[in-house]
């Protein structure tokens, strides 16, 4: 799962029929430890009613489809949670976290 901020919303008339009625959100990831993803944005289907400006958790792959209650939607990413509060260790833990874009989200250090 990826932590990111919703920075935009996409609309499209011509699209795969399984995407009809779904909200497509542009996500800017904060911290991402998979450097193979080089672009600073991704598009995720909304599953929780998130909007522009909110910090969210994005899940990827098959769990993303399942979080939308289907396995037959041609997508890779879904917004599955809206962040209320974030707590990070001062050294951000042991993982080699990398900034992909944007500022670090507001958080409490412990």
């Amino acid at each position: 799962m990826i932590l990111g901020r919703v920075v935009g919303e996409v609309w499209a008339t011509k699209k795969h029929s399984a995407l009809d009625g779904r909200k497509l959100l542009v996500i800017e990831p904060y911290l991402w430890y998979a450097p193979s993803h080089e672009v600073a944005h991704l598009v995720a289907v909304d599953a929780v009613g998130a909007g522009v400006g909110e910090d969210v958790i994005v899940c990827m792959g098959d769990p993303a489809r399942r979080s939308l209650g289907t396995t037959s939607m041609p997508i890779e990413a879904a917004v599955c949670a809206i962040v209320d509060r974030l707590e990070l260790a001062r050294d951000r833990g042991a993982r080699p976290l990398t900034f992909v874009g944007g500022r670090a989200p507001e958080h409490d250090s412990v």
């Binding site: 919703v6 920075v7 935009g8 919303e9 996409v10 609309w11 499209a12 008339t13 011509k14 699209k15 795969h16 399984a18 995407l19 497509l24 542009v26 800017e28 080089e38 672009v39 600073a40 944005h41 991704l42 598009v43 995720a44 522009v52 400006g53 792959g61 098959d62 489809r65 037959s72 939607m73 041609p74 997508i75 890779e76 990413a77 900034f99 992909v100 874009g101 944007g102 500022r103």
Partner: protein, 101 residues
């Protein structure tokens, strides 16, 4: 999924059997990265599109016999941007808007 712009199309007379009749588009994202994606929606050069990647995506959209895993799943009409209202320009640049890229 990623946003990108169609910058060209590809065709090869000799191709894998599953690609018969397929339309292949070269899609470039804001960072300059390019993928070749299969299109069934009728996107053309200059259109902004949403490209999804993966085996399951491919199976659900164009069938299991296609030897390609990037698929155009939407032709973008517009992007509502948090700061600027309707954005008719490029998708977001590499490094994010906050990184000054």
């Amino acid at each position: 999924m990623r946003l990108g712009r169609v910058v060209g199309s590809v065709w090869g007379a000799k191709h894998a059997a599953g690609l018969d009749g397929a339309k292949l588009l070269v899609v470039e994202d804001a960072g300059g990265g390019r993928v070749t994606a299969i299109d069934k929606l009728g996107a053309g050069v200059g259109d902004r599109v949403l490209v999804a990647h993966g085996t399951r995506v491919r199976d659900l959209t164009v069938g299991e016999t296609v030897a390609l895993k990037d698929v155009v799943v939407a032709v973008i009409d517009g992007v509502y941007d948090a700061g600027d209202g309707v954005d008719a320009g490029e998708p977001f640049a590499r490094g994010g808007r906050g990184a000054g890229a």
